[in-house]
Amino acid sequence: MEAAARMTVLAVENLSKSFGGVHAVRNVSFAVGAGELLALIGPNGAGKTTCFNMLNGQIRPDSGSVRLGGREIVGLAPRAVWRLGVGRTFQITATFASMTVRENVQMALLSHHRRVSSWWPRAARLYREEADRLLERVGMAEQAERACSVLAYGDLKRVELAVALANAPRLLLMDEPTAGMAPKERIALMALTAEIVRERGLAVLFTEHDMDVVFTHADRIIVLNRGTLIAAGRPADVRADAEVQAVYLGSRGHG
């Protein structure tokens, strides 16, 4: 599939952010289409997470525009961006430690169905099946009753994926979805993500340090170095790019 043929879900133009004197992200532009897995790669500190944070409203860009389905979303709070259909997983997992795995997903569903102001019904009985279906999808059904505070890290990442899928998003932002996992698990989780993306026609932007995962699953790759995009294209082209090779030479081991 050609990127041009897809319906554009996310269009980013000239996005910039600096912290004090550090240009974390500088004039970055790219687009993600429906059904596409776009990998954002780059060495540590390249500005990937900063990019993500600007996309979902966690930090406000200094300049640039972020359009979701044609609508400008710069300046919206994360919760508003989420309502527009953007799911996110975090580089350092963020789940509700005092809740079970199922309740974590139920919480997202309750919010999605705008039920958080009800004071009477029992939350644990609402959207149970829907939560279980999502957990089934990410392979966490057996652990639905466990507390999130006791899960293995890889399992937490799966819970995050289920939570991110709870509002039937058009766009998934996944910041290092496989960090902290064993190599085999990584491939399996990304394969699962790819499957879900195809089946739902989602657009996905993900960052990843594991090049095997990136080259196996990404439809396209963009490369960030010190805040600037230095390459973009199909995996084969990016792999062949001289500048990318220079940046990554000897630095492939981390992550």
Binding site: N56, Q58, A77, P78, R79, W82, R83, R88, F90, A94, T95, F96, A97, S98, M99, T100, E103, Q106, M107, A108, L110, S111, H112, R115, V116, S117, S118, W119, W120, P121, R122, A123, A124, L126, A147, S149, V150, V163, A166, N167
Partner: protein, 638 residues
């Protein structure tokens, strides 16, 4: 002109004292992250110790200054002892338990002082060589106050040198910025902490000892000193020493200004600024926190400083067993008037009222993760609201029982809007500031609230005038309130609240408006505290500003923490245990505070999760195979 200068100098002198009290607190907090409630007690001890030492050494210059320094050294040594014996064991405990432990120390020290020095005020001698006064612009000004004015900046400079020119100071600064880093440097953290605690205690003791020619040693000084110290530290920014100095100057001068202005008539309206002195520091703190959430020179704390609550097990909705247990307790309580003595009924009313008060506080501390030091404000607003509507508006008592809590809810809605923008200790301090403001209004508005005497003749309607009838009314209100709070806890709203506490990042990313959720929680908690307050007023027939004093807020905190913050039945058990203990001990000994304090210390050291929390953990870990450490001293991962 001359009087303005004199007031300005007065302000400087009191700023020095404020700085000495506060700087140690700030230093200790910066390094150990412990909010030391007992800091005011150390200040008080300094005064008493100086009195005794000077008495023994004689009022010569050597005797006087030897006594002052000796007192400060003694208090410093006591600080080291406390650190080694108690605090060292609880650095990893949730922040709230540290607070509870230091509060227990307040109680123990208070009674130790009472036992050793007795209840009378003790006025020390004047300082030899500084007993007179000098003329400044023709007005006499005490020499000793001039000396004090110099002491504040001198201590600031010495501290600066200590922190910036010595290796020990470098370590302290490193620890303030990043505790992990100190560990990585391989420093023996323990002794660093002991040293800082001893230094902080020394400074508090010095602050107290230096007051000896100016004010008598008195028993209530511990609480007034600690509230002054908190205000200065928070206004300056927790952990910032120059901030504490700046804040002390600001507050010292503003207070002096209020005294100097006296009563001013603006456009025909007389404004009494001197009355404002009781509350002006809290007003300053509220304004500073609203404008600068981390104080004047403070930085956002690196660590997540939420409630510091232990990681809790996924809450289990009430099963049938729980419902049955609840009904059994209710049945037993309903049988009480028939079975118990009249005194038991009166005590039971108190316990029920405090159970609801504590449950409402738990609602914001547990699920919402907001620690309030000023929850008594809403208890008081409920009590005053009901009583004033009865006495001044002539409404029937039944209506005031519903409207009083509404007043409390409105107050909570107003203050809560500011409070929920902060977090952690700053949030707690802003609640305290608002509570003090409400308290001082009730205390000073003689014509409307009855001032310090309060309101009398606040009696329920005829059909409720019997103790038994009123008991059943209380039981019904409290049972309904507790049931509703539980129900809300397990509702989608309650879950959302907990979500915001567990991970603000994730909550925001799934569409939850945490600020709004917390604000609503604040209002709910205020309303239920108001119900408790209204009932409390009618049960006694009178109310006074005491109902919303700091000590009432602290009582609530102790009840919640005794029972366990993250358990729903905890506050009920905590309230019962606390009220009953206080009543029983107070009837048998003058030293009930010490016994209560020792009990609290024991509970904190033995059951860091509170009584019910500990029971739940024991039962839970058997039933559910929960791994060890899941509920416990570990901080939340977040």
């Amino acid at each position: 002109m001359a009087s303005i200068v004199a007031q300005f100098l007065n302000g400087l002198a009191s700023a020095s004292t404020l700085f000495l009290i506060a700087v140690g607190l700030s230093l200790i907090f910066g390094v150990t992250r412990i909010v030391n409630f007992a800091h005011g007690s150390l200040y008080m001890l300094g005064l008493y110790a100086a009195y005794s030492l000077i008495d023994r050494f004689g009022p010569t210059p050597l005797g006087f200054w030897g006594g002052v320094i000796g007192a400060a050294l003694l208090v410093g040594a006591l600080g080291a002892l406390v650190e080694v014996a108690i605090l060292r064991r609880i650095y990893r405990a949730p922040e709230l338990f540290q607070l509870l432990a230091t509060f227990a120390l307040v109680l123990v020290i208070r009674d130790a002082v009472l036992w050793h020095w007795g209840p009378e005020d003790l006025l020390g001698p004047r300082a030899p060589g500084f007993a007179g006064s000098v003329a400044i612009l023709g007005k006499p000004f005490p020499e000793y106050d001039l000396l004090l004015i110099a002491v504040g900046p001198l201590v600031l400079v010495l501290l600066w040198l200590l922190l910036n020119r010595t290796r020990w100071g470098t370590l302290v600064r490193a620890a303030t910025q990043d505790r992990e880093m100190v560990g990585a440097l391989g420093v023996n953290e323990r002794w660093l902490f002991t040293g800082v605690f001893a230094l902080g205690a020394f400074l508090a003791g010095l602050g107290g000892a230096l007051q000896i020619p100016r004010e008598p040693a008195q028993l209530f000084l511990d609480l007034t000193a600690i509230s002054d110290a908190f205000v200065v530290v928070v206004v300056g920014g927790m952990g910032s020493i120059p901030g504490a100095f700046l804040a002390a100057l600001l507050i010292g001068e503003i207070k002096a200004l209020c005294i100097g202005l006296g009563t001013v008539t603006v456009g025909g309206v007389a404004i009494s600024f001197s009355k404002l002195t009781l509350v002006v520091e809290f007003i300053v703190m509220a304004i500073v926190l609203i404008v600068r959430p981390y104080g004047l020179l403070g930085k956002p704390l690196a660590m997540q400083r939420g409630a510091g609550a232990p990681v809790e097990l996924p809450a289990r909705p009430d099963g049938r067993a729980m419902a049955l247990a609840g009904l059994a307790v209710l049945a037993a309580l309903a049988a009480l008037p028939a079975a118990g003595t009249p005194y038991a009924v009166v005590l039971a009313i108190d316990i029920l009222v405090f159970a609801l008060f504590a449950a409402s506080l738990q609602f914001i501390m547990g699920p919402a993760g907001m620690v309030s030091f000023g929850h008594a404000a809403y208890f008081g607003l409920g009590a005053y609201g009901a009583a004033l509507l009865l006495k001044r508006a002539g409404l029937p008592m039944e209506a005031t029982l519903a409207l009083g809590p509404l007043v409390a809810a409105l107050g909570a809605a107003l203050f809560g809007a500011f409070v929920v923008r902060l977090s952690g200790v700053y949030l707690a301090m802003l609640t305290l500031a608002f509570a003090q403001i409400v308290w001082s209004i009730a205390f000073q508005w003689d014509a409307f609230t009855g001032g310090s005497n309060g309101l009398v003749g606040v009696w329920p309607s005829g059909w409720l005038s019997g103790k038994t009838a009123f008991y059943f009314l209380t039981l019904a209100c409290v049972a309904a309130g507790v049931f509703l709070l539980r129900r809300i806890h397990f509702s989608p709203y309650g879950y959302a609240l907990r979500a915001g506490r567990d991970s603000p990042l994730r909550a925001d990313a799934i569409g939850l408006d945490i600020g709004r959720l917390q604000w609503v929680a604040f209002v709910i908690a205020g309303a239920f505290a108001g119900v408790a307050g209204a009932l409390a007023g009618y049960s006694k027939g009178s109310i006074s500003p005491e109902v919303m004093a700091v000590s009432r807020s602290v009582d609530g905190l102790v009840m919640v923490l005794l029972g366990g913050v993250q358990t729903l039945s905890g506050p009920l058990v905590g309230a019962a245990a606390f009220t009953w203990l206080q009543d029983t001990i107070a009837r048998n000994t003058e030293y009930w505070r010490a016994i209560l304090g020792a009990t609290i210390l024991f509970i904190v050291l033995a059951f860091p999760q509170g009584i019910v929390g500990q029971l739940a953990a024991w039962l839970g870990s058997r039933d559910r195979g929960a791994p060890e450490g899941m509920v416990g001293w570990r901080r939340r991962r977040a």
